[in-house]
């Protein structure tokens, strides 16, 4: 459905420009160890007007002028529900995930499309399990995640059609940044939830299958299966599990190992969240 209230750009007949003069090394392989996640930068309290906010940046690949991922999250509330809303004994959580119009190679419109709504629902499932919602009756919380820069802004991502696997990385980032923003807002949670992604990938040489943490689809020949979890490390529980793909029926690669790898990735991310939050506390005490 077209947005009729704004004057949008042309409706899709335009094509992104193709530049011939960039270097043409389409083959850029993963330099990290299979069980290493990319360096992250997380800062809370970036939006003073919101009750909680956080900014997450995932480092771009080495030696590339291309982008990593940049996400910002704001949490508004808990605030009282509008008078027209029905009574709720719990905090009403609503999540919005939005790509900035310029975040991907293909321009996104202002209205949320189906993949953004889908990510919003997945994020809501991940967060709802962690929050102690009965401490805030009759109130609502809005969690808004904006993806300022997505991973697939580069030409080769479009050409090799790997955007579909990026949704898992985006969700992992959304969970992490939203969890930090909720902690910044001071909303009671059973634990800080963190997102982790793992994938089963095939590499060019010999088609050897391997499992990697925090996969970047562009760095591999093909991705066979991927899994994103939202994990509560102190309770050893999973609030959201999203798995997609095909695993070979024979061999040691099964979904249990894939999920445990994703959990391992989210444990790594959890360390970052707690380090960032404790830094804020130290600064406020000093």
């Amino acid at each position: 459905m077209a947005d009729r209230r704004r004057i949008n750009g042309p409706g899709g007949s335009t094509l992104p420009p193709v530049y011939d003069d960039t270097e043409l090394d389409a083959v850029s392989l993963r330099q990290r160890a299979p069980d290493a996640i990319r360096p992250l930068y997380l800062k809370t309290g970036v939006t003073p007007s919101a009750s909680g906010s956080a900014y997450l940046e995932i480092e771009p690949r080495e030696g590339k002028h291309g982008s990593g991922m940049k996400l910002a999250c704001t949490v508004h509330g808990p605030r009282s529900l509008p008078r027209s809303a029905p009574f709720s004994p719990y905090m009403v959580l609503s999540t919005h995930v939005k790509f900035a119009p310029f975040a991907t190679k293909q321009r996104r419109g202002y209205l949320r499309d189906s993949s953004e709504k889908d990510l919003g629902t997945l994020l809501e499932t991940a967060l709802r399990g962690a929050m102690i919602a009965d401490r805030w009756p009759k109130s609502g919380v809005d969690v808004v995640v904006t993806i300022i820069e997505g991973e697939s802004t580069r030409q080769d991502a479009v050409e090799r059609r790997v955007e579909e696997w990026d949704a898992m990385n985006v969700l992992g980032g959304c969970i992490t940044v939203a969890s930090a923003a909720i902690a910044d807002a001071g909303i009671d949670c059973v634990d800080t939830v963190s997102g982790g992604v793992a994938a089963l990938v095939a590499d060019k040489d010999g088609g050897e299958l391997s499992m990697v943490l925090d996969p970047v689809a562009l760095e591999h020949e093909s991705v066979l299966a991927a899994c994103c979890v939202a994990y509560l490390p102190n309770r050893d529980e999973v609030t959201n599990l999203w798995f997609r793909g095909q695993l070979p029926s024979t061999g040691t690669h099964n979904y249990q190992t894939l999920v445990s790898k994703a959990v391992q990735a989210s444990k790594g991310v959890h360390g970052l969240i707690s380090a960032s939050l404790s830094e804020v506390i130290e600064n406020s005490q000093a």
Binding site: L15, V18, D20, E124, T125, G129, A130, D134, L232, T239
Partner: protein, 368 residues
């Protein structure tokens, strides 16, 4: 899809404890692995390429119509794409993929899916979530998108429109998934007469149109996936939960699987046991039990005890916050241990289990 269930905390606690028994006692008397009976038919809409209707015993009913259109395959690089690719090939010296490999380049976006549920807006997040879940499961094996490829310049665009006719009495995921499965099995696309990269020409004889998922012959391998909804209540695992069961579920998981027929060896007379179930997608569903009202233990209830012993009450409120009391309903908090999710998946993939039973049942549906 947060439907308010009109059950009191006492009813919820009763349901939860009876479902946690071993074996669980379900409100409608089913066993834990039993599906609700359903009636199904296909080919009900002559104007579509394939259609199906499934009606569950509780009165929920869904119709799926499949429509196919021819579409020109857009080059992601525009009109200069061909030249650009040649340039890349010559500049990098790498083959850039075999010619044969690009030929069958299929894209998941060729399948479009909409779900219409009465009483919900079509852009409601829950409806979009359902449509994406089903779409992801169908595309996960990559087989369906490849079937839509015609030649390098053209492809089929498949529109799958799911209509829930009755109000959603329970979470309609299994119903919609089974209906979609049947509609895709009944889908036929006109037979292609042209060859190579010509503009496609089709046989206008509908009788000659091949099925999208052929049943006999060499290509009879893959089948569309089905998605089952499984919930865990206490230690028991329940398939095809009703609305009341979902309202007390500790966790809910949608598991999509796909049946792969192994090719039988030539001349072998073994009975048809070559069905292999393969997990293609999983998603946690937010159980509506998190939105149910909590119960108040009668010791803390002033109206029941009639004493205004304030310090005692405060003490009890604090303990009630931490430890759940037997028989007092409290919405589940936190996530699910992976062991529970794992046992759900094992139960779904079990040989001769529920998934086999459902697939056998669907096989019996007459495809017209």
């Amino acid at each position: 899809m947060a439907q308010q269930t009109l059950l009191s905390p006492a009813e919820l606690a009763y349901l939860h404890s009876s479902l946690s028994l071993s074996p669980p006692i379900r409100p409608d008397g089913r066993t834990s692995k039993q599906f609700r009976p359903l009636t199904a038919e296909t080919g009900i809409l002559p104007g579509t390429n394939g259609s199906a209707r499934v009606c569950l015993a509780d009165g929920t009913e869904a119709i799926v119509g499949v429509k196919a259109e021819i579409e020109k395959t857009a080059d992601p690089l525009g009109d200069d794409g061909e030249r650009y690719r040649e340039y890349v090939k010559s500049a990098s010296g790498v083959g850039g993929g075999d010619a044969d490999e690009d030929r069958r380049e299929a894209r998941g976006e060729w399948l479009e899916m909409t779900v219409e549920i009465p009483g919900l807006r079509d852009d409601d997040a829950g409806t979009v979530f359902l449509a994406e879940l089903l779409r992801e499961a169908l595309l996960a094996d990559g087989e369906l998108a490849r079937k839509l490829w015609i030649n390098r310049r053209f492809h089929w665009r498949l529109y799958l429109d799911i209509l829930l006719i009755s109000p959603p009495l329970s979470y309609p995921l299994p119903l919609l998934s089974l209906t979609t499965h049947l509609a895709l099995l009944a889908t036929r696309l006109p037979r292609l007469k042209s060859e190579g990269d010509e503009d496609p020409m089709f046989d206008d004889d509908w009788e000659a149109a091949p099925f999208l998922y052929p049943r006999q012959g060499a290509a009879a391998g893959s089948r569309p996936s089905i998605t089952l909804l499984v919930v865990a209540v206490g230690d028991s695992i329940l398939f095809d939960p009703s609305k009341e069961e979902l309202a007390v579920a500790d966790s809910a998981l949608a598991v999509s699987l796909c049946e792969v027929r192994r090719e039988r060896g030539q001349g072998s007379m073994e009975v048809d046991s070559g069905r292999e179930l393969r997990l293609v997608a999983m998603r946690t569903i937010d159980p509506p039990s998190r939105l149910t009202p909590p119960g108040v233990p009668s010791t803390a209830n002033l109206a029941a005890s009639g004493t205004a012993d304030v310090p005692l009450q405060q003490k009890q409120q604090q303990t009630a916050d931490e430890a759940p009391q037997e028989g007092v309903w409290k919405a589940p908090l936190g996530g699910t241990p992976f062991a529970v999710l794992d046992s759900i998946i094992q139960a779904v993939l079990e040989k001769g289990g529920v998934a086999d039973e459902v697939l056998d049942g669907l096989e019996g549906v007459d495809l017209t």
